[in-house]
């Protein structure tokens, strides 16, 4: 009876409610199509083997049901060729799947060089976003259509995860580190942003919307509203306020190295290793200054941890980055 109830309930659900359920989320980025193709191939493989196993079991169940208690089934020795075949087939499938998915993954992980960078700071339980032009948003992200966007992300507290199902992109947002993801939206519209990594009480409310706009609309949106200072300008202001400027003098006469022309180039550190001056390194220099000292400079820089928040760190980085394009004035 219970079963009948369940069945009819299931049927009515199927009939009445199944129709409006989409079988796939909106596909609104260049990444989505590739992922979906792989996904549906995998679905096909799953269905194929599930159907084979289920139907074989059902067939055997009926064909070889016990007809009398005394029947003695034949002794069937193992069949080595058969074992080899059904070891080889899954191996081959896995091999193909690995290369297919790895290739797609690397493509999807590698941002195009010409990406527009937007900065994300996750915080219990909201998203702070900053455009290089200085516009700041909370839980909303406006992006232009058909433009590669790279998000550089960090967290103020616990691990979060920036997830846009419609773009098939997701990446954890960690405290103390920068992670990044990129996408290129292909359809105008409004799509969900979710936090995909459990982050505490308000986890389910840490959601937002991404608005994909025509580039012209985007430009209008960006310039609309009050006039903003760009991230680099805000960084420059901080650079002065915090007193960085007293040591990091432009002509390289201060106690610290000049930051002009530094960004994006390899530097040999005092520890002997050579590292590219990137976001991670600049952040490290602000938070753990002694761990990335350049040779010929004393380890005298104080840490700024706790004095500035992650958004301000990002502004400082934007400023250092803007100095990176200028010509270096010797050592």
């Amino acid at each position: 009876m219970m079963q009948a109830g369940a069945a009819s309930f299931g049927l009515s659900l199927t009939a009445g409610l199944f129709a409006p359920i989409p079988i796939r989320p909106p596909a609104a980025s260049t990444i989505a199509e590739g992922v979906d193709k792989l996904h549906f191939t995998l679905t096909g493989i799953t269905l194929f083997f599930t159907v084979i196993i289920f139907s074989t079991i059902f067939y055997f169940m009926i064909k070889y049901r016990r007809r009398s208690e005394d029947e003695v089934p034949p002794e069937i020795e193992k069949n080595l060729p058969l074992e080899i075949v059904w070891t080889a087939i899954p191996t081959l499938i896995c091999f193909v799947l690995f290369f297919w998915s790895a290739r797609l993954y690397i493509r999807n992980a590698r941002p195009p060089n010409a990406s527009t960078e937007i900065f994300v700071v996750g915080k219990q339980w909201m998203w702070h976003l900053q455009h290089p032009e200085g516009v700041r948003e909370i839980n909303e992200l406006h992006v232009p259509l058909n433009t590669p966007i790279k998000l550089t992300m960090t967290s103020e507290d616990v691990i979060h995860d920036f997830y846009i199902p419609a773009f098939r992109v997701k990446k954890d947002v960690l405290p103390g580190r920068y992670t990044s993801l990129w996408f290129q939206a292909t359809k105008s519209g409004t799509y969900h942003i979710f936090c995909g990594q459990y982050c505490g009480e308000g986890h389910a409310n840490m959601i937002g919307w991404v608005f994909v706009m025509e580039p012209s609309d985007y430009a209008a949106w960006l310039s609309g509203g009050a006039s903003h200072e760009s991230m680099a300008q805000a960084g420059e202001r901080l650079f002065t306020q915090l007193g960085c400027v007293t040591c990091h003098v432009a002509d390289n006469t201060g106690r610290g190295p000049s930051l002009i022309g530094l960004y994006g180039k390899p530097e040999k550190l005092r520890s002997g290793e050579t590292r590219i001056v990137d976001e991670a390194l600049v952040r490290q220099a602000i938070v753990f200054p002694n761990s990335v000292i350049l040779p010929n400079y004393p380890p005298v820089m104080p840490t700024f941890q706790g004095q500035i928040n992650e958004e301000q760190v990002l502004q400082l980085i934007a400023y250092v980055k803007s100095l990176g394009t200028q010509e270096r004035t010797g050592k």
């Binding site: 996904h39 169940m61 089934p73 002794e75 691990i159 103390g176």
Partner: protein, 545 residues
């Protein structure tokens, strides 16, 4: 099969001294060193924990009927799923088959009088109980909201709940697993009856052996990881705190180094059970014995190489991601081989459909689906989209509930007559097996779709468009819940009112079926001498005939 055949079979169970009536009183149970009694102590305790974890699941499914949450505050919901995960993983699934059926059957199947270290075995149970008490205390006094994964720095610095007590519970229970695994390995190596060579062992023993390897090599690592979280939480010393130079991902590495193999702690024993059931109810030798045995060992070893697939989107490097993806695909192969061999065992068999067989066939189907959906998660590109969504939830429930719990229930039904000496009503049992199968699929299949549509897991509230599938899932869960209650009722009933089972109600092969039901304390009058391979269903009939 052995020389230990006596006319004890004709003596009615009640008048014979067996392990159940050898002594009476609560002390005779709490201080027993008999592996069979300890198995029953475990059975009672893990059943209790199962229904606690199940209650949490019921509340969650009710809550999720409404997008804005039908039942509780998000804070409480977070505690519910954490409690569900902690209890089900550490206190039910990990000890389920090894501690109950394993404890009961390992010595009997290999022809030994007990495990190698009976006192250690009892201590394991007390350790388990101590861990359970800490965890239950944490729940009663306000709960924990970190999820069963205890990800730092949330668990170590931000959560306001009873993380320490829960972590301590999990830490302590780990030692129970370690000691059980140690006991099994020594027993299987050193205490096999004369003639019981490695390739005459029932496949259940191979599975228990593989599981034990994971127990002893994996569990210490999660213990230390959780210990470090505790230290970090108490002293704020920065082990996993990036503000002081710690790396939160390191915790995830240490955690998954155990917790991925732990999935195989759950599924390998179930696979062992299925090998026993499929052979018995189709009256055939297993197809490809050595291949099934080796695939168990292969799974145990490879399971330690794949943990990074839990971390494809957590900021692990692309390079490590590639390595872990390739290794993760490897584990699919021995699993597929097992499924093919079980299916082939049915070929030209003499198949009957008692309840344990229904569970076994259900297992094969559900495990196939669970395993194949694992390919989506080993694939880097699709994992990025599916990781952390309901797709994951559905996938691991197909493995852990559709696989491990089906195997556990199948095994309990199969050996129940041996354990208690009583038969349960088979019609009810078959009905319950069907209800569980149907309820399970209705609960978890919609979750695959939810996940692909992008619904993240651990959401107390969710956007409206996901409601239909959530309602379907909750409806299925109510059926599944009933499916689990029915066996509880008739199995308890059968302990008192069930007809006597006799030593071998299924006509099964194996040393455990050659002693009376319930077995005497010493298991065997005389240690049997084994002269033939396992599952000799066809040959046996000729010699006995």
């Amino acid at each position: 099969m052995s020389t230990a055949v006596a006319d004890i079979h004709e003596v009615p169970a009640e008048s014979r001294v067996n392990y159940l009536n050898a002594s009476y009183g609560i002390k005779s149970w709490l201080f027993t060193t008999d592996h069979k009694r300890i198995a029953l102590l475990y059975l009672a305790s893990i059943t209790f924990m199962f229904f606690i974890g199940g209650a949490a699941a019921v509340l969650m499914r009710i809550h999720l009927i409404e997008p804005q949450g039908a039942l509780v505050q998000p804070e409480t919901y977070n505690k519910l799923f954490s409690m569900h995960g902690v209890v089900m993983v550490f206190f039910f699934l990990v000890p389920s088959i090894p501690a109950t059926l394993g404890n009961f059957l390992v010595p009997m199947m290999i022809g030994a009088r007990d495990l190698a270290f009976p006192k250690l075995n009892l201590i394991s149970w007390y350790i388990y109980i101590t861990g359970a008490i800490f965890t239950l205390y944490a729940m009663i006094s306000g709960g924990v909201d970190t999820g069963w994964t205890f990800y730092t720095p949330f668990s170590s610095l931000y959560s306001q709940t009873h993380v320490i007590a829960t972590a301590l519970g999990v830490f302590i229970t780990g030692f129970s697993s370690i000691l059980t695994g140690l006991n099994f390995i020594v027993t299987i190596h050193k205490m096999r009856a004369p003639g019981m060579t490695w390739f005459r062992l029932p496949l259940f023993i191979w599975a228990m052996y593989a599981t034990s390897v994971i127990f002893i090599l994996g569990t210490p690592v999660v213990a230390i990881a959780i210990f470090l979280v505790g230290l970090e939480r108490i002293f704020h010393v920065g082990i996993f705190d990036p503000a002081v130079g710690g790396d939160p991902l390191l915790f995830q590495h240490l955690f998954w180094f155990y917790s991925h193999p732990a999935v195989y702690i759950m599924i390998l024993p179930a696979m062992g059970v299925i090998s026993e059931l499929v052979t018995c109810f189709s009256k055939k030798r297993i197809f490809g014995y050595s291949i099934v045995a080796f695939s168990s060992m292969a799974i145990a070893i490879i399971s330690f190489l794949v943990w990074g697939h839990h971390m494809f989107v957590t900021g692990q490097s692309v390079y490590a991601g590639l390595i872990f993806s390739a290794l993760s695909f490897l584990v699919a192969i021995p699993s597929a081989i097992k499924v093919f061999n079980w299916t082939s065992t049915l070929y030209r068999g003499s198949i009957s459909y008692e309840a344990p067989m229904l569970y076994a066939l259900g297992f094969i189907g559900l495990f196939t689906m669970g395993g194949l959906t694992g390919l989506f998660l080993a694939s880097l590109a699709t994992d990025v989209h599916l990781n952390g969504t309901y797709f994951i939830v559905a996938h691991f429930h197909y493995i852990m509930v559709g696989g491990a719990v089906m195997g556990y229930l199948g095994g309990i039904h199969f050996w129940w007559p041996k354990i208690t000496g009583r038969l349960y009503p088979d019609a009810w049992a078959r009905f319950a097996a069907l209800v569980v199968f149907v309820g399970f699929n209705l609960t978890f299949f919609p979750q695959f779709m939810l996940g692909y549509l992008g619904m993240p897991r651990r959401y107390a509230v969710y956007p409206d468009e996901f409601q239909v599938l959530n309602v379907m899932s909750s409806a299925g869960a109510s059926i599944l819940g009933v499916g689990y209650l029915i066996p509880l009722i008739y199995l308890v009933w059968s302990m008192r009112y069930g007809p006597a089972a006799g030593p071998n109600p299924w006509g099964a092969r194996g040393l455990e079926w050659e002693t009376p039901s319930p077995p005497p304390t010493e298991n065997f009058e005389e240690i049997p001498v084994v002269t033939e391979e396992a599952y000799n269903y066809t040959g046996a009939r000729q010699t006995a005939g």
